[in-house]
Amino acid sequence: MKDIILEVKDLSVNYKNKNILDGINLEIEKGKIYSIIGPNGCGKTTLIRMMSKSLKPKRGRVLLHGDDIFEMKSKDIAKRMAILNQNNTTISDITVRKLVQYGRYSYKNWWSGLDKEDEDIIEWAMEKTFVTSLKNRRIDTLSGGERQRVWLAMSIAQKPEILLLDEPTTYLDICHQLEILELVTKLNKEEGITIIMVLHDINHAVGYSDEIIVINNKNIYAKGDSWSILETKVIEEVFNVKTQTMIDKETNKPIFYAKKVI
């Protein structure tokens, strides 16, 4: 029996009278890592923003444990699902500790302060993401990689079952890209958090996810594990590039190489 945690049913989205996504159906299994890839403007960011209720669809539903998120309270969603947005460019002078603390917002009422459990979770979230030493720094003084880890700390302080990440590695150098991806994998393995992320780099998707979802032409073009995506012509058809696939002998995972534009 598959344990479906999130289900997208017949989802269609229009933006400025233009159809962006058309009748998407998708099932997300608990405990897995999913990567969404696709060419620029294919609607992958729209899909993930829809899953987190940041945008409203024209038609269709997103079910979290069977409940329609568009009918749920924001606080109830936040306790189960966290999102790391694409460009968190917020120029804010709040401290890291304070930002991570906002991850606990959905568990609090306006009259209740932080209790011992909140304090422990905040400490845990900062430790998991290696930002404890930064806790007194202001977020506008952090580097890109540090900042991304801090946002991640805030997300996991929500104690979510699902973590959505929209291009978490954009604007980071290669070392910090891998650092974030390894961190996400660790959260998946150690905490059992289901991960859905939009990625630009196909090799990252291949290397770090259980399943890859390829979006093209307003719909899901292909879905499957790394081999099933790379062995077929999917990448060539969707991205219009000539490709070659090799094997990483250490992990037995495929490595992909784009040779030229078709």
């Binding site: 999102i83 002078d93 959905s106 030493s133």
Partner: protein, 332 residues
């Protein structure tokens, strides 16, 4: 190695600064009551406030200076809080009820009641609130394009302000025989205001001050951006609507008793941000206090500088505020 908090981030510093402002408030209150054509000693002020001894000091303090100082404090606090809220919900450091047209919205409907339907003068605060809300929502509608955009807000605000300003001028032209009351309304002045105005605005200040402090954390989260705020579970639409209404409520109450008074909502929150940072938990009390202090000192100055002639305090505020506005523009 953990770095320690910088001074600006320390709780003690922020609380210390708020205490300092409270002391300043007390000084402003004393100076405002001492200064004037009739100089009253500090010690006498408390005597005549506590007991009615029939002396001329009692007359001056109780009927004129005391209510006027209290009114200045309340109006200053309301306008400053309104500006602090608007800067947060509109994500724009230049948002101020007078610059983006919320005050002129309140002013237009206030003047309509004052000039066209003077028999309903008691409805001025409500009319002003409706005008302020209409202005706020016009600004949102005009500047909304898949989210709030900072520059569009200011442009929309300037347009809304001009529109309501034209409405005010129109009323003044068509009803030129009845404009006397409306003219002082236009220029923001505290002269000849007394206890009735204090009682009108006091509930607004109390309710507004309590609400902003209860919900300050929501605004802290909102300024991180709509997506982030929604992600951690904040009801973004309700929060923005609620705070906008609160800002309109505070600005409208101030406008309905002293008329159009600019720049308080701009200068004060910004000065506070520079000193203790953007955390609304501390910003709101500090902003309210500094707003009060600024308006009390400005009014005392306006009243005594060219004595016996009185300068409308709105002019004093403009002289201080306009250069500050330019300074902020340069910094952006």
């Amino acid at each position: 190695m953990e770095e320690s908090l910088s001074l600006k981030d320390r709780k003690g510093f922020k609380i210390g600064f708020i205490i300092f402002l409270t002391i300043l408030l007390f000084i402003a209150f004393l100076v405002g009551n001492i200064k004037g054509t009739l100089q009253v000693e500090a010690k006498r002020i408390f005597e005549v406030i506590m007991t009615d001894d029939g002396s001329p000091e009692r007359m001056v303090i109780w009927n004129i200076r005391l209510p006027r100082m209290i009114l200045a404090a309340l109006v200053g606090a309301n306008l400053a809080l309104s500006g602090a809220i608007l800067q947060g919900v509109m994500k724009n450091p230049l948002a101020d009820p007078s610059i983006i047209g919320i005050s002129s919205g309140a002013g237009l409907l206030g003047i309509v009641v004052l000039v066209v339907f003077p028999q309903y003068i008691g409805l001025v605060p409500i009319a002003a609130f409706v005008g302020a809300m209409v202005a706020a929502f016009l600004i949102y509608i005009l500047s909304w394009k898949g989210g709030i955009q900072t520059t569009r807000i200011i442009l929309a605000g300037v347009a809304v302000s001009a529109l309501f300003g034209a409405g005010i001028s129109g009323i003044l032209v068509f009803y030129s025989d009845r404009v006397h009351g409306a003219l002082t309304f236009m220029n923001g002045s505290l002269s000849s205001r007394s206890w009735p105005e204090v009682w009108t605005i006091l509930p607004y200040t109390i309710i507004g001050f309590i609400l902003v402090n209860i919900f300050s954390e929501k605004l802290n989260i909102l300024i991180l951006g709509d997506d982030v705020a929604r992600g951690v579970g904040l009801n973004v639409e309700a929060t923005r609507l609620g705070f906008t209404a609160l800002a309109a409520f505070l600005a409208a109450s101030a406008v309905s008793v002293v008329g159009l008074l600019g720049f308080v909502g701009l200068i004060v929150p910004h000065s506070i941000r520079l000193i203790i940072g953007n955390d609304y938990k501390y910003m709101f009390p500090a902003t309210a206090l500094l707003g009060s202090v600024l308006l009390m000192f400005s009014d005392t100055f306006a009243r005594t500088f060219l004595s016996p002639t009185e300068i409308p305090v709105g002019i004093v505020m403009a002289v201080v505020g306009a250069p500050f506005f330019l300074f902020l523009l340069r910094r952006e």
